[in-house]
Amino acid sequence: MGNHQLTSLIKMANQIAANNTHIGNETEEATMVANHLRKFWARSMKQQITDYLIEGGEELSPIAKKAVAEL
């Protein structure tokens, strides 16, 4: 797996999370982010970000982490 896509995916996931932090409830926020990823991301993208989380997912924000874990 190369780095280009993963770098973008981390950035995208964090950005989606940052734009969905208005609920005040992390669980609900993570679910919104997860739903977004389910609805718009390709299979290979979801797979890569899930694999990244399994490896630690260091650069993912807390909500993005929770969301990816839901996938």
Binding site: H4, Q5, S8, M12, I16, A18, H22, A42, R43, M45
Partner: protein
């Protein structure tokens, strides 16, 4: 009584909309027309055609020529019928001895100062002056001419002006009817023409008595169209003569969707004349659609398929069969080696609905994945997301004509007079009638102040602060109690509204608290919010200045929130109106170009919906979304995405971060480009399939008002195939059968599978002229204004739009903010307009910057300036302009060599990945030579042009 409307006939004065009907008698015939109609028009509607010269039905009556004089029982004299409104019981006589003599006398005076070279005149065969002279029976001219009894001065040797590339001005033919002057003002709204001098010395003068090209003239062609003689005449007509037949079709430039009569001689276009019955343009045009069509027959057109194994080899011209089987075997091989998801494609927002539908079908059904995307990714994808979330449909809510009912108009991040000029003219017309205007734009666009238009509030927001701005607007609406409580209670989701209301009422969103972010003085913003909320009808028009940001989708939702909160949805004069960039970008979205949506915005994961497609298409479809364009590039660089079919898009030039895009394109093993020219993307291609211009095909385009317009073939495709035929042949080569005989059959399939298109057919389009979707059993005639009674999602949804600052911000290293856009004379990547005379207005992209920023850098107008961002650098000429605010610079991306997108970054909208073209932190410095990128670009370009030329030499050798 005849009451049908013939769009080819000039009724003399504009139609009136009054519901009060007036009955009068003209020549003993009883005629009933709406109140306010002129006697001239009433007569014309009954096919009583009173001679006229200064009157035309797209202009207000002027009453200067007096040729249309009539007698009215009980009135003295002979009033001009154009300026006389009908009255109940009026008895009008349009022809008798006295009127005949009067008309002959008038025409005699006109002709005494008019050349009698009718046989060799360009207007011969289509001259209103000649027609009227014939109609009144003028037999002799006593004044002015050689041998006449009275000596008179004339204008016969007046000097011609050929400065405009598309039309000539010959004042010796002018009858000073003022139609051109009025068209420039009333229709176009530019006011570039005037009558200079008095009495006999009156002449038409552009600008300050300048040549046309040097004046403010925008070359829209309205004056040429209005001219009843050959005074203002298309150069193409002067060269070729009058056309012999015409076909109505739709312009392939911007999202306004103007209809034109392609006036033809054989298979050659003589001129494009805006079609009066075109429901988006009503007979008006801009310089692009009207004149810039010569690219279609430009020598750069490639008309034969070509292949090559790698991009450092010369192209080989081959037969269609060979090219298609080469492409098919490459794609199949890639899928065998790298998997089903290793290939994909891009549909074209310039091609027809039917062609776009076919490309996404090819990808989903023949490639077996959902790796399809389109140009909307980089322009209006946030509109799709934002409007679907809030209003339930991914499209604008109104007709263009609706603006004529607006009392306040807010234009956000759009520059209609340049990018959507025909709508811009309509908007200016409404503003001249008194509608109020708010402009939110970092630049002082023309709408801020132009003749007879001045904005009430110019909100000069900082690039990147859109969401903070729109939140502040709605904050004012809610906290000052300006919301429409009834609309909210009846039409919007209660719980979402309450949550949003709580959010937006927070003091941190106030104009005072956000002033440091937006740069908009709080009082100015409050004034604008009060104006918008207080107007009876307030409409929002927005463009890419809204969408092309890291929060593009949030901003679209913020705009929808504002419209919902003030009840400005669901009737004439209001609404949320995205001004869409390309001719068929609305259509390409509707047709299922996005990786997650089948045609009609139906999600691929819905088993029932997918099942319907599967049963009609006869294949199993993937239930997971595919890759978006930027993800395709990333995957290409990672080696998992290997092949791509690109129809009519130049991603190598139009997409951001050129270095990244070009590296991705280089890494593909099979790139198939279908285009009319060897565009920038094609320089990285292995298969080139020649495309057809809009003049060479049948189909439909859908404009920004959801209006489906017919595109009609006026000449045979130069390559022998229309684009849908090429896609069909590629599909067949891949082993997935397609057997359409005509685009109408493709539309029938679209209608079968897309609920919003269920009742659309070519027969209905012929009957109605155009249809605004949704068009189905519920709305068989389409739906001009949306959301009148309910939303497709039931109730309107207020979405919480938290402002999140972009990561792209000015720093010490990159202290300026670059925003990019387009200008009037060029279009998108310029592939079309650069191959026309439009080049005289803009033959290179320049960097516009404020004089203060220029002075800080020792830059003068015309200096070479190096622009660098964290993504890359390029060099352009500097143009000093106080249209810019200090700290913000601007350029266009119409010329490939200027490399505007080398500078733009990979930042994008959080929800849709629409690139953040409108905010790039840059530094600008004075330089003396082109950038390193430009030097590499020139080398690569020369190499690729050489490889194209070698193909030609090979062909010549083969013939020997």
């Amino acid at each position: 009584m005849l009451q049908y409307f013939d769009p080819d006939k000039d009724y003399g004065t504009p139609a009136q909309l009054s519901e009060n009907m007036i009955t009068l008698e003209i020549n003993g015939v009883s005629i009933t027309v709406p109140e306010g109609t002129s006697v001239l028009r009433a007569a014309a509607q009954a096919d009583i055609n009173i001679p006229k010269l200064c009157a035309s039905d797209n202009l207000e009556a002027f009453g200067s020529c007096r040729v249309c004089a009539v007698e009215i029982e009980g009135r003295r004299g002979t009033p001009a019928s154009c300026t006389t409104p009908v009255e109940t019981g009026m008895k009008v006589t349009t022809q008798n001895k006295r009127l005949g003599k009067l008309r002959r006398n008038i025409m005699e005076l006109y002709i005494s100062d008019h050349p009698l070279d009718c046989l060799t005149c360009p207007a011969n065969g289509n001259c209103e002056l000649q027609d009227v002279v014939g109609a009144v029976g003028l037999r002799e001219v006593r004044y002015g001419l050689e041998g006449s009894s009275v000596e008179t001065r004339t204008h016969l040797d007046a000097e011609k002006d050929h400065s405009n590339p598309y039309f000539s001005f010959d004042p010796s033919k002018c009858i000073a009817c003022s139609r051109c002057v009025r068209a420039c003002g009333e229709v176009q709204g530019t006011f570039a023409l005037t009558i200079d001098g008095r009495g006999f010395d009156s002449t038409i003068a552009p600008g300050q008595n300048q040549p046309f090209l040097d004046s403010e003239c925008v070359s829209c062609g309205a004056c040429v169209q209005a001219c009843p003689t050959s005074t203002l005449m298309e150069k193409s007509v002067i060269e070729m003569g009058q056309p012999e037949h015409s076909i109505v079709t739709t312009c392939a430039y911007c999202g306004v969707g103007c209809q034109f009569k392609a006036e033809m001689k054989g298979a050659e276009v003589v001129r494009m004349v805006p079609y009066k019955d075109g429901q988006a343009n009503h007979g008006h045009s801009c310089v692009k659609g009207r004149f810039a069509f010569g690219y279609a027959t430009h020598e750069d057109r490639i008309t034969k398929p070509m292949i090559r194994d790698s991009i450092d080899q010369p192209w080989q011209e081959v037969s269609w069969e060979e090219a298609l089987s080469f492409a098919a075997s490459k794609l199949k091989g890639l899928q065998q080696r790298y998997g089903r998801e290793s290939i994909g494609g891009i549909t074209s927002s310039r091609c027809t609905n039917e062609e776009t539908y076919l490309v996404q079908k090819l990808i989903r059904a023949a490639f077996g994945n959902n790796n399809t995307d389109t140009c909307a990714r980089v322009c209006h994808s946030p509109t799709g997301y934002g409007l679907k979330t809030t209003l339930g449909e991914s499209a604008g809510t109104q007709t263009f004509d609706s603006v004529m009912y607006a009392d306040a108009v807010m234009v956000i991040g759009a520059n209609p007079t340049d990018a959507h000029p025909v709508f811009g003219s309509l908007l200016k017309k409404r503003l001249r009638q008194g509608a109020k205007l708010i402009v939110a734009d970092p630049r002082r666009i023309d709408l801020v102040k132009s003749p007879h238009v001045e904005t009430n509030h110019h909100l000069t927001l900082r690039p990147g602060s859109n969401v903070a701005f729109i939140n502040a607007m709605t904050h004012v609406v809610i906290t000052e109690g300006l919301e429409d409580k009834t609309f909210i209670a009846n039409r919007c989701e209660e719980s979402a509204y309450q949550a949003w209301r709580e959010f937006i009422s927070e003091e941190r969103h106030s104009p005072e608290n956000t002033e440091s972010i937006t740069g908009i003085p709080a009082e100015e913003l409050r004034g604008a919010a009060r104006l918008y909320a207080g107007a009876k009808n307030a409409a929002i028009y927005y463009g890419l200045g809204v969408t092309e940001h890291s929060q593009g989708s949030s901003m679209v939702m913020g705009i929808a929130n504002l419209a919902l909160a003030t009840g400005n949805i669901g009737r004439e004069g209001v609404g949320v109106n995205p001004l869409r960039g390309q001719n068929n970008v609305q259509g390409s979205c509707d047709m299922g170009s996005f990786p997650h949506e089948l045609p009609g915005y139906q999600h691929v994961s819905d088993d029932q919906i997918r099942g319907r497609f599967e049963s009609v298409w006869g294949v199993k479809l993937d239930n997971e979304p595919g890759l978006r364009i930027p993800n395709m590039f990333d995957a290409a660089l990672d080696g998992t995405y290997k092949g791509m079919y690109v129809q009519g898009e130049d991603i190598a030039q139009s997409d951001p971060n050129t270095n990244h895009v070009q590296a991705a394109l280089r890494s593909l093993e099979c790139l198939i480009v279908q285009d009319i020219f060897l565009n920038e993307t094609a320089k990285f291609a292995h298969v080139f399939l020649p495309g057809a211009s809009f003049l060479e095909k049948d189909g439909t385009f859908t404009n920004a008002e959801r209006r489906i317009n017919r595109v009609r073939k006026v000449m045979p495709p130069l390559s022998g195939k229309q684009d849908w035929e090429v896609t069909q042949a590629l599909s067949n080569s891949l082993g997935y059968e397609m057997n359409y005989n005509h685009p109408s059959e493709i539309m029938d399939e679209i209608a079968q599978l897309t609920p919003t298109f269920a009742s659309v057919s070519y027969e209905r389009l012929e009957e109605m002229g155009s249809i605004q979707w949704p068009c189905n059993d519920e709305t068989p005639d389409g739906m001009p204004i949306m959301h009148v009674e309910s939303f497709p999602i039931g109730k309107g949804h207020f979405a919480i739009t938290e402002y999140v600052a972009t990561e792209e911000r000015s720093t010490r290293r990159f202290p300026l903010l670059l925003t990019t856009g387009r200008i009037l004379s060029q279009y998108n990547v310029g592939a079309q307009t650069r191959r026309t005379e439009n080049q005289v207005w803009h033959d290179e992209d320049v960097l516009e910057l404020h004089p203060v920023d220029a002075e800080d850098r020792g830059l003068q107008d015309g200096d070479w300036v190096g622009i660098t961002s964290r993504a890359g650098g390029t060099v352009m000429r500097a143009k000093l302009s106080d249209r810019m605010q200090p700290g913000v610079v601007y350029t266009t991306f119409h010329h490939p060599g200027s490399g505007a997108n080398v500078v733009t970054t990979d930042n994008s909208d959080w929800a849709t990945n629409c690139p953040e073209y409108k905010v790039t932190a840059v530094q600008a410095v004075k330089v003396s030579e082109p950038s390193e990128w430009q030097q590499r670009y020139n080398e690569f370009n020369n190499q690729q042009q050489g490889l194209l030329k070698q193909r030609r030499r090979n062909k010549a050798a083969a013939r020997d």
